[in-house]
């Protein structure tokens, strides 16, 4: 199974916090075939990504299979300060999930 890994980089730029997150996930579409067996490879993709800052949801991403493998997401929000903790979590179509925390630098 893929490593459940989220790498987060968050930085203050003026009064706006810029967050970049990189997740490890195969993001399988369900349309590809295994070349040797000719069988379809089962769809396996992240459905929802949530980022929280002080308990508030800053962004809720709903993803389909068209998001690239090892997905990248970046967004900006106001009202944060240096050192604040943020939490990013995802859940995929097989019920697997991962969570990671980071501090805004």
């Amino acid at each position: 199974m893929a490593k459940k890994n989220i790498r987060i980089r968050a930085k203050m730029k003026g009064d706006v916090a810029e967050v970049k997150a990189l997740m490890s996930h195969p993001m399988e579409t369900g349309l590809r075939k295994n070349k040797k067996t000719g069988k379809k490879i089962e769809a396996h993709f992240i459905k929802e990504v949530v980022c929280e800052h002080k308990g508030n949801k800053v962004i809720v991403a709903s993803w389909g299979v068209a998001v690239s493998k090892n997905p990248y997401l970046s967004f900006k929000f106001k009202g944060a300060a240096k050192g604040d903790a943020i939490k990013v979590s995802w859940e995929d179509n097989k019920g697997e999930s991962a969570t990671a925390d980071a501090n805004i630098g």
């Binding site: 295994n34 993803w63 068209a66 997905p71 990248y72 967004f75 929000f77």
Partner: protein, 153 residues
């Protein structure tokens, strides 16, 4: 016996009341439930209807799509959508993909109208960004040429 069932009923509804007041049944953020029908839709209009219950968008000059003119590898196409509008939601659709809706983002009140991500594109297609602001849908598009598709093995 009747009295029993009556009691059971009141206990059950009482529990429900407690759960509701404790916030367990409080509605989550808009779009928080994964919109399955929107992602299964085969056309842009169907996708938008399922997602926003409307497919009428107005073209806006206030939405910027940053994406390559020519993508060498359709499996990884970086896309950045930004807008000056107070966006509640941003969606990215790819016209010629089997299911056009690639991703949608529900933004919190303090979140800027900006998202950046990477998507797969099967072939050369229009990339459409839809921004929901003030209850209305605004859109912008950009054509991206794909030399190697991202959906095949």
């Amino acid at each position: 016996m009747k009295r029993r069932t009556f009691l059971k009923g009141t206990v059950a509804s009482g529990m429900l009341g407690v759960a509701a007041s404790a916030g367990l049944l409080a509605p989550r953020m808009v779009l928080a439930a994964w919109p399955e029908s929107a992602f299964a839709a085969k056309s842009i209009d169907d996708g938008l209807n399922a997602l926003y219950s409307s497919a009428s968008t107005t073209e806006s000059g206030d939405i910027k799509i940053k994406a390559p003119d020519i993508a060498e590898n359709g499996a990884v196409v970086p896309v950045t959508v930004s807008t000056g509008m107070a966006a509640e939601s941003i969606a990215i659709l790819i016209e010629k993909n089997p299911a056009p809706l690639a991703c949608s983002y529900a933004l919190g009140g303090s979140t800027e109208g900006f998202v950046s991500t990477r998507v797969k594109m099967g072939k050369t297609s229009d990339l459409i960004a839809v921004v929901k602001s003030g209850g209305k849908l605004h859109s912008a598009k950009k054509t991206v040429k794909v030399t190697i598709g991202g959906c095949g093995g």
